[in-house]
């Protein structure tokens, strides 16, 4: 590919680049070139698909700019040459060197963001009257609110159970049941942006959509499709066919009879069904058994048969269209109302979800007025727009971009556009991405922006062996994968290996565990004592695991262990080293069966990380913490307490629990060990509703050390749970029970790191939630519950833990943008692609402003004919996306790619007509040897800090700081009085009581008395000379001075007369004992004497009652 063209700031460019070809390199290089060309950072907008990618881009850019600033001239020249700057003169060099500072310290900053982030920036600049909440909050997790909307919807239906809407709902219940109804309406909600786009400008959106649909389905409600059966021709044909059959075989005669009976049916629907069933199999296919016998006129037979069947099929189709329309009538009405409830709730809470944001941005940008406004309101004017991973853009996002471009053309100048993408990696259809856009958009950009198209098929990631597999699978252009061109490896000598492990099938029955075997012997013997059942106390039930998947999982885990023991990989610097767990990335298509594979890894003690957040909360350690917290707010939660006790936090034994269970709570004694089964007491006292916690308290001093420890700590925590914020509470728990260390001791070595990380992650959730408004422990737990329930809430990139050396398991979607030396594609023989059976059928032609079709669909049999092309297009597209997914999966592997799978049986494999991922790879010519299997590399250096011996004092508490005893009321009164006096004696200050009260922060209850005291004191005749300005030369309140030692001192009031200076110190105490203040006063005196050398310094205490006591 020509970097001269791609990186030239003057060009708009569209690059189609294969996986691993260095898209980030290209994009960031382009940014460097832009900066070098004098483009301001604020004029650059780069959009990529994940936040992680955006961060990486930022980091890369910084690194490069730093390199330009700091490397020697030759390196810089080379760097620039690689980025297609031919001759680097001194000026360019100087410029390049200056970029780092300019970029870092510039006040205009570059925007590198996701669509998500960028839309948020824009929407916050929406016109004030655009119905976008001021200070808008983004609703990230929507499931709770959807649930609430669902309830509100139900509430409104309940209020009017006979209303039109309720009747539609009733219809849905009847036709498809509650479960499917919910699925249908949720799917409708999920497509709300499309729905809005589709019905934009319609006052009666649902009515209009239904009209459109009626036209599309060609339903004429005045006609009854069944009327076709009444036509005489038809009846004659049936009759003729029946009599033809009558002359045939016995089986034919039977059919003839049913046909005749059917004809006799009065009710048309029944007649139709009877006729249909007579000629079709149970599955609704035309029966193959009905064919002409030898001796029958085959031509006539077939023409009669088809004469009947064709009409029946016409009727069938017409009925299906009607059914579809009916479903839409009910579904769209109910869906639209459900949607209304959801939108209303969000408005009430002043939040928007991301779909809203996207839609609003699109809506506003499409209005030229507001589009322009939002352009200039945003402080950046983009002259260069760079789009990464463009294949994952959805039509609405593209429209937004387009509108943005248009507006900037109107406002300013045509931006330069740089698009990178790979339609082959488009896998976000479920997020409405449409890879067909790529082609459309590149046409558009060529046309409108003179963009230059470029292609890149050299990859820097994969070893040739891996690429051979990629090429092998895709060169045949399977399933519409037409845009594939042979990939070329940049690193030609990188050792690689591809293997498809043999498919695994269920073990034949004979090898199964007992159970069924026993059953057989029982049947065989036929004796009265025949059955011998498993005794669960002695023998565990065999896992029903001889299933193929379990076998695959075992094989998988064993193989992984072998890889780490014997394989060598090459690190980024080209150095060979032993493979480690962290080098292996495991990919699955969906999470459904992960449990099985994880169990196998666990059984082999292989450390691994799954990336789900829901997964975190389901781990045993996180459940322990949740159980503990639940106990702390519900101390009668016995099971939760028992779990806490059994967890490593306390590691109480079962004997401990039995001790508690056996406590006769009334007598506070263990139950006598003999049972009284003679006594007719059906209720042993252990069933009394005395909580486990109460029992634990009762044996606080007699239980095992573990129980005693638990009791002490739990008691402490119960008290703290009241007031401490969740995070602080949790931290105290972790600390006081030594939680991380105790878990580390209890769990197997291989799990230690993950358990530790999970405990930490849990703490961080608490920390996060604590920052929220109106926190409480019950609310925290409720939110965790919601999080757990909403498993798939945010399909954004997964969290990769910091845990050093662990195998990582991802779905292919999550693995986007990642790579690993060794990739294992698990469960790759699964060809089931289950699609929603109730959902939205949509046709949004790329580049069209709105969808051309929007309707709901139900079961396959009700799809009808009219929409068939759309359904088929969907399927084609889904198949194509399946291939994209495979492409993404394969290209993650740097050196080794392993595929495994399972199936029903070898015969079933022979018969199937769809190729699985596994098949596609397995059928390639396999390379004989595995160059990675050398085991010569050094063991991977796990980055561990050399343990440093620390000062033992760092391991001990270091009591520091203290909470000051709160001031007594008396002391506070003193302070207030002080303050009052100070203000009242400052000339010119407002002496208004209320104002002063506020100023000095005096409670209303105190003000009256204090005010009076102050006034009294000031009115004392003896003190007049100190307070009345007529009597003195000058006076100062709260006068600070510094003594020779540099200490700060403060004199309450200093009054200067002709010949003397008075130092007054206010005292609030009633008992006028001056002794304690002598030293202080004498210090004042000495100090002031040095200032007022020529005058006498006199010191006095002034007590609250007005007494003046000179010292």
């Amino acid at each position: 590919m020509d970097n001269h063209i791609a990186l030239d700031p003057k060009n708009s460019v569209v690059v189609e680049a294969c996986a691993g070809s260095g898209k980030t390199w290209l994009l960031v290089s382009r940014i460097v070139r832009l900066l070098l060309a004098g483009v301001q950072p604020g004029e650059i907008l780069a959009i990529t698909f994940t936040r992680k990618a955006a961060q990486e881009m930022q980091a890369r850019l910084h690194d490069w700019l730093h390199l330009l600033a700091s490397a020697d001239d030759e390196t810089v020249r080379n760097f620039l040459r690689e980025r297609a700057i031919a001759d680097v003169d001194a000026e360019t060099l100087a410029q390049a060197r200056g970029l780092y500072r300019d970029f870092l310290l510039s006040s205009s900053s570059i925007t590198i963001s996701t669509f998500h982030g960028w839309f948020m920036q824009i929407i916050q600049r929406a016109p004030l009257n655009a119905d976008v909440p001021v200070g808008l909050q983004l609703l990230e997790r929507t499931s709770a609110l959807r649930e609430e909307a669902w309830d509100a919807f139900a509430e409104s239906l309940r209020a009017e159970p006979e209303g039109e809407l309720a009747q539609q709902m009733q219809w849905l219940f009847n036709a498809i049941g509650l479960h499917n109804t919910r699925a249908l309406l949720e799917n409708f909600l999920g497509k709300r942006a499309e729905w809005w786009a589709y019905t934009l400008g319609q006052t009666d959106a649902v009515g209009w959509a239904l009209e459109e649909l009626r036209d599309a389905l060609q339903v004429d409600e005045d006609e009854d499709p069944l009327d076709a059966l009444l036509e005489q021709d038809f009846d004659l044909t049936v009759q003729a066919f029946a009599s033809l059959l009558q002359s045939g075989s016995e089986a034919q005669q039977k059919v003839a009879k049913t046909l005749d009976e059917a004809r006799a049916q009065q009710e048309l629907q029944a007649r139709y069904e009877a006729l249909f069933n007579a000629l079709h199999t149970a599955k609704g296919e035309p029966s193959k058994k009905i064919k002409a016998n030898k001796g029958q006129d085959e031509v006539r037979f077939n023409s009669l048969l088809h004469g009947v069947i064709d009409v029946l099929h016409q009727v069938q189709d017409a009925l299906a269209e009607r059914a579809a329309l009916r479903l839409n009538q009910a579904g769209l009405r109910c869906g639209a109302t459900f949607l209304q409830h959801y939108q209303r709730l969000k408005l009430q809470q002043q939040v928007m979800d991301f779909t809203d944001v996207e839609w609003q941005v699109a809506r506003l940008l499409k209005q030229s007025d507001s589009a322009e406004y939002m352009q200039y309101k945003l402080d950046s004017r983009y002259k260069h727009v760079l789009l990464d991973e463009f294949q994952d853009t959805n039509p609405l996002q593209w429209q937004i971009l387009q509108a943005w471009f248009e507006a900037s053309v109107a406002a300013d100048e045509r931006p330069k556009i740089f698009v990178v993408g790979d339609p082959k990696q488009s896998i976000y259809r479920f997020r409405r991405a449409d890879s067909r856009l790529f082609g459309e958009v590149s046409e558009f950009l060529k046309r409108e922006f003179g963009a230059k198209p470029l292609n890149q098929n050299v990859t820097r990631r994969n070893a040739p062996a891996v690429l051979d597999a990629v090429n092998g699978v895709f060169e045949a252009h399977p399933e519409g994968f037409v845009d594939f061109a042979t990939h070329i490896a940049h690193h030609r000598n990188l050792p690689g290996h591809v293997a498809a492990l043999p498919l695994l099938f269920p073990r034949p029955d004979g090898e199964r565990g007992r159970g069924e075997g026993e059953e057989k012997s029982g049947e065989g013997e036929e004796e009265s004592t025949g059955l011998v059942l498993r005794n669960p106390l002695l023998e565990a039930r065999a896992e029903a695991d001889s299933g193929a998947r379990e076998l695959e999982a075992e094989q998988f885990a064993a193989h992984i262990a072998a890889i780490v023991a014997t394989w060598t990989v090459q690190d980024a610097a080209g150095k060979q080293r032993r493979a480690s767990w962290g080098d292996i990335m495991v990919l699955v298509r969906k999470r459904t069966h992960l449990r099985v594979y994880e169990a196998a890894l666990r059984a082999q003690n292989i450390p691994f990380l799954t990336s789900r957040r829901g997964g975190l909360l389901d781990t045993l350690e996180a459940e322990d913490i949740q159980a503990l917290l639940t106990f702390l707010i519900t101390p009668f939660a016995d099971l939760q307490l028992a779990q806490t006790l059994r967890s490593p936090m306390f590691s109480c034994s079962d004997a401990d629990l039995m001790l508690l269970a056996g406590l006769d709570t009334a007598a506070q004694q263990p139950l006598p060990l003999s049972t009284q089964h003679t006594a007719p007491s059906p209720q042993p006292s252990v069933l009394s509703p005395v909580s486990l916690w109460t029992r634990l308290q009762r044996c606080a001093n007699t239980g095992s050390p573990a129980l005693q420890r638990a009791h002490l700590l739990l008691q402490d925590w119960l008290q703290r749970a009241d007031k401490l914020p969740v995070h602080d509470l949790l931290d105290h728990i972790y600390f006081s029970a030594d939680v991380p260390h105790r878990y580390a001791a209890a769990v197997p070595e291989s799990m230690r790191a993950t358990v530790h990380a999970n405990l930490q992650a849990f703490m961080e959730i608490a920390l996060d939630v604590d920052g929220g408004r109106y926190p409480s422990l019950p609310r925290f737990l409720a939110e965790l519950g919601e999080l757990r329930a909403a498993d798939n809430e945010s399909p954004d990139e997964g969290r990769v833990g910091e845990v050093g050396n662990a195998l990582r398991i991802y779905t292919v979607h999550e693995a986007k943008g990642l790579e690993a030396p060794i990739v294992w594609l698990l469960d790759a023989n699964d060809t089931n692609s289950k699609t929603d059976s109730y959902g939205v059928l949509l046709d949004w032609p790329t580049n069209a402003a709105r969808p051309a079709h929007f309707s709901l669909y139900g079961k396959q049999s009700d799809h009808g004919k009219q929409r068939l092309p759309l359904f088929e297009a969907e399927e084609d597209y889904a198949r194509r996306e399946g291939m994209n997914l495979l492409y993404v999966a394969l290209t993650r592997a740097r050196q080794a790619l392993i595929v495994s799978g399972n199936g029903k049986s070898a015969e079933a494999e022979q018969k199937k007509n769809v190729l699985s991922w596994y098949d596609r790879i397995a059928q390639l010519q396999a390379a004989a040897d595995n160059p990675l299997l050398t085991a010569t590399g050094e063991a991977a250096l796990i980055k561990a800090h050399a343990t440093v011996d620390v000062d033992a004092a760092l391991q001990r508490p270091l009591p520091t700081g203290k909470r000051a005893a709160g001031n007594t009321l008396e002391q506070r009164r003193g302070t207030w009085l002080h303050a009052l006096l100070q203000h009242l004696t400052t000339p010119g200050v407002l002496a208004e009581q209320a104002a002063l009260q506020a100023l000095c922060g005096i409670p209303s209850a105190e003000m009256g008395a204090l005010w009076q005291q102050a006034q009294q004191l000031l009115a004392q005749p003896a003190l007049q000379r100190f307070f009345d300005a007529q009597h003195y030369l000058s006076a100062a309140n709260e006068m600070p001075y510094a003594n020779a030692q540099g200490e700060l001192k403060r004199i309450d009031r200093l009054v200067e007369f002709e010949n003397e200076v008075w130092v007054l110190d206010y005292k609030t105490g009633a008992a006028p004992d001056a002794a304690p203040y002598r030293a202080q006063m004498s210090e004042y005196r000495t100090a002031m004497q040095s200032v007022y050398a020529g005058k006498t310094v006199r010191c006095a205490l002034v007590f609250a009652d007005g007494t003046l006591r000179e010292m």
Binding site: L104, Y376, F636, P670, S776, L990
Partner: protein
């Protein structure tokens, strides 16, 4: 005075204070020792002490009467005003009313808009921005500033601001911003004495203006730390790295490249003066950053440092550090404080309003009652007892909401709850009104809190006290306001108010404090921990104003984002200049994503690295984090987890068992142990929606009633039967349909199954089985030690043969599931168990799935199966009574749904 921040010990800071002191003393030598005439404007009062000390030391007198050391704000506050200030609460209501009247924002939260507008209006006042008289002129002004053609959105913006500005200023009231202006003007007019100003960054325009005015009448001298630091070797590299925006004299920055700068620096200062002062620590994630900071703070403490500042650019990290320090019993003084709305004292308030609004939705109610602030007039133990009692009741009875329902329930089952519920009722009544003034609402709220005993609880807590004080203040301020608000509007208002209050707990005295960057101006510490120095937090993002944009704000003369950033950069410079031990930490990676260092520090690092081959990285800490932890008192560490297999003492071996108990014993003896020996059960959950098991229960009830009424189907016509079953179904469902709309869907599901059920039942009758009894309880002494018990859905008898029975169990599961259940012999004991109890000769499940309704029986002859099943039961109990162990040997499929997985701890056993 606390002993922290003693100015004398820090060489870095002393240099600057000496300069200031020397300059002031020199200028006023003739006035010594009385400097009271002089005023020094401080950035904050922490600076007063070191400055005073240096003055005293410089003067060398026994006593020096200090200059007035004051912040500008306090100085201004001391100027009396002729007119009282209208509080912002009142202005907000006025504005709210104005907005409401104009109906510009029909669906919006007007409080939010009003708050934004007030901020803008205050800024306009503060920055002396004159709005043109005519709206048209203003619009034209905006048009120029935006550099765009006018359009409706711009017009609207202009109109809102213009109109409200004039509306608000027409009132002639004095607001705080104007008051400040008057006061500053007054100070400037009265200026006589010399004024000194300590600066670390540029003054905002209003203050500049004041200094200018003041300077016209009296001398003003500015000590700008940036200029003073420029000549310090340690700051040279900082200056070189960042340059100064306006500092044209700053030749380093503007013309030289990093490499050249590095060379120059090395020439001027062969050794780095900054290197020994500043270190950067790159952390992997929040926890490591917090730990690093915490360990470093303790190292400093151990090294005898006694004033340590933690500058919290990242609040989360600071919170974490604080908790970690508290583990080591290091208490921290927090100058930053908490937003009141994030504190538990506000939670009780809001949860109370939540509960009211949701008519006491049980979660709100329980959450409210679990607050330690409610009913604080009673013993805490007593309150908790009440809540737990209520919760148990609520869970048992599944009450979702409505105070009346709770009250009825308490009446019937737990009278101790009457009194507290009555209090809730009374408190609720006191807030039951449609609209009121804000003051009225506040008074009512206060009243209700009083009834609930919340007031004493809050008053006993420092944050609570502040909250109460705030409520009182608002109530007083708004006493004269007559605008009426709905409950919702008021609540919004309250929430906004709580968001704006900060609580600071200043009762802790400690050498370690947490503070803001801006609060460190001119302060020096023994050591500074800068937390959260990534690009996102340093500079921190400005709050984006809703109105205008930066360009417009700039033309109008309002402060812009660049200013905000420059300020932070200057503050950072000041911090580096004043302190000689600084550790800056940031998360170099965050949840697996890269995270950039603050651009200022990155620049600094880059230059320092080039000049001195030292990238300032802190290298010791990472290695010590693991071992430098403080741990609580040692306890015996747990042993590696392994499969438990307890054996129960005879006294605890159950004496009766049901079919489900037996099933559990078979599936996993440990599960049985937990359930039936330890008697552990899951908490009852309040079910808010209808679940499948509800459906199952209802259908059971329907069929029971149906067969009681129609015991022999053949005696009725099909139509009768259908009508009958429909009627009964409707009756059973009626209550639930009334309560929950979705119950209808379940009802319909059942109704669709009715024909199939009747058909199946007719077939059953045709086979000669006649319905005999439904819901048949049994209790048998199986062995002398063990009773068996249960309830059988239904027993049929053979019409022809006497005493031949068959037991049936209704299942809502589908056929396949049922078949699977029965596949492995002996693993599902329900049918043989029931058959044994009735001595039945047949037993079957009846699947009630509309699609495929059918009875499924075990493949084995039931009597054989029963015999074997019960023989095993006998054997197992004999073993248990002899102390056999109960291993946790469930298969994975059972474990997945087992509530005892936290007890057996299967996930942690070592499998290897």
């Amino acid at each position: 005075m606390r002993q922290t921040e003693s100015g004398g010990t820090h060489t870095a800071a002393a240099v600057f204070f000496e300069q200031v002191a020397a300059a002031i003393l020199a200028r006023h030598a003739h006035e010594l020792p009385d400097l009271r005439r002089v005023t020094v404007l401080l950035p904050n009062y922490h600076v007063a002490q070191p400055l005073a000390q240096h003055l005293a030391r410089g003067a060398g007198l026994p006593a020096l009467l200090l200059p007035q050391l004051v912040t500008l704000n306090d100085w201004a506050q001391s100027v009396p005003l002729a007119q009282s200030i209208t509080p912002d609460t009142c202005r907000a209501t006025t504005l709210y009313q104005a907005l409401r009247a104009r109906n510009w924002f029909p669906d919006a939260d007007l409080w939010g808009i009003a708050a934004e507008l007030l901020d803008l209006l205050d800024e306009l006042t503060r920055y002396h921005v004159p709005l043109p008289q005519s709206e048209e002129d203003f619009l034209a002004q905006l048009e120029r500033a935006y550099q765009a053609r006018r359009n409706s959105a711009m017009q609207f913006e202009a109109r809102v601001v213009h109109e409200l500005w004039y509306a608000m200023s027409a009132s002639g009231e004095l607001d705080a911003a104007r008051a400040m202006q008057q006061r500053l003007a007054h100070l400037a007019q009265q200026a006589e004495a010399p004024l000194y100003v300590l600066l670390a960054s540029d003054l905002a325009r209003p203050e500049m203006r004041f200094l200018q005015a003041y300077g016209e009448r009296a001398p003003v001298s500015v000590f700008d730390l940036r200029d003073m630091a420029a000549s310090e070797p340690a700051c040279a590299v900082v200056h070189a790295a960042w340059g100064r925006v306006e500092g044209a004299e700053d030749v380093h920055a503007s013309t030289l490249h990093l490499r050249e700068q590095a060379t120059q620096l090395r020439e001027h200062f062969p050794r780095s003066a900054l290197g020994p002062r500043v270190r950067l620590f790159a952390a992997h994630g929040l926890e490591q950053e917090a730990r690093a900071a915490e360990v470093q703070v303790r190292r400093w403490l151990l090294a005898g440092k006694n004033s340590i500042a933690i500058v919290a650019q990242d609040r989360l990290a600071a919170r974490r550090v604080r908790a970690l320090l508290e583990r080591a019993q290091v208490q921290v003084r927090d100058e930053t404080g908490w937003t009141l709305s994030t504190m538990a004292v506000s939670t009780v308030l809001m949860r109370w309003l939540d509960a009211l609004q949701s008519d006491f939705y049980y979660q709100d109610l329980l959450d409210l009652l679990k607050s330690p602030y409610i009913f604080s007039d009673a013993e805490p133990g007593e309150r908790k007892q009440l809540v737990y009692q209520l919760e148990q009741l609520v869970r048992k009875r599944g009450v979702v909401a409505h105070l009346d329902t709770f009250i009825e329930l308490a009446d019937a089952e737990a009278q101790t709850l009457n009194a507290p519920l009555a209090r809730l009722r009374q408190a609720a009544d006191s807030l039951r009104k449609k609209s009121d003034t804000l003051a009225g609402w506040l008074a009512a709220l206060h009243g209700s809190l009083d009834i609930l005993g919340v007031l004493p609880g809050l008053a006993a807590d420092a944050a609570g006290e502040q909250l109460l004080q705030a409520l009182r203040t608002w109530q007083e301020e708004l006493a004269g306001d007559n605008t009426r608000f709905s409950r919702g509007e008021w609540r919004h208002w309250l929430a906004l108010q709580l968001d704006r209050l900060t609580f600071r707990d200043l009762s802790i005295e400690s050498p370690v404090l947490i503070t803001h960057l801006a609060a460190t101006r001119w302060r020096s510490f023994d050591a500074v921990q800068l937390l959260g120095c990534d690009a996102a937090h340093l500079p921190s993002a400005d709050k984006k104003a809703v109105w205008f944009n930066d360009a417009v704000r700039d033309t109008l003369g309002l402060p812009v984002a660049a200013l905000h950033r420059a300020q932070q950069r200057d503050d950072l410079l000041a911090l580096l200049a004043m302190n000689d031990t600084v550790l800056a930490t940031w998360q170099a990676s965050k949840a697996g994503e890269e995270n950039l260092l603050s651009p200022y520090l990155e620049m600094l690092r880059g230059l320092h690295d080039l000049a001195y081959d030292d990238d300032l990285a802190e290298t010791e800490l990472a290695g010590m984090l693991e071992s430098a932890q403080v741990r609580s008192a040692p306890s015996t560490m747990p042993e590696a987890a392994a499969m438990p297999a307890p054996s129960a003492p005879l006294a605890l071996v159950p004496q009766r068992i049901s079919a489900s108990g037996y099933n559990s014993l078979v599936a996993c003896p440990y599960q049985y142990f937990a359930r039936h020996v330890l008697h552990l059960n899951e908490l009852d959950e309040v079910r808010e929606g209808i679940e499948k098991r509800d459906y199952g229960e209802w259908v059971h009830a329907i069929l029971h009633r149906f067969h009681e009424e129609f015991s022999l189907l053949e005696e009725h016509t099909r139509a009768e039967l259908e009508a009958g079953l429909q009627r009964i179904s409707a009756e059973v469902f009626a209550e639930y349909v009334e309560r929950d709309y979705w119950a209808r869907a379940w009802l319909q599901r059942w109704q669709q199954a009715i024909p199939a059920y009747l058909t199946v039942q007719q077939e059953i009758e045709a086979e000669g089985w006649h319905y005999a009894q439904g819901e048949v309880p049994f209790k048998l002494q199986f062995t002398p030690e063990l009773q068996i018990q249960g309830r059988i859905d239904r027993v049929d008898v053979q019409a022809q043969v006497a005493n031949v029975e068959r037991v049936l169990d209704y299942k809502t599961q589908d056929l396949n599931k049922l078949r699977n259940k029965l596949k492995e012999v002996g693993e599902d004991v329900q049918l043989p168990f029931y058959a044994y109890a009735r001595d039945a000769c047949e037993a079957a499940y009846l699947s009630l799935d509309a699609e495929k309704m059918q009875a499924v029986a075990p493949a084995q002859e039931i009597r054989h199966l029963s015999q074997a099943t019960m023989a095993r039961l006998k054997e197992m109990f004999a073993m248990l009574r002899e102390g056999a162990t109960m291993p946790a040997n469930g298969i994975d499929a059972v474990c997945e749904y087992c509530e005892m997985r936290g007890l057996c701890r299967k996930a942690e056993w070592n499998h290897g």
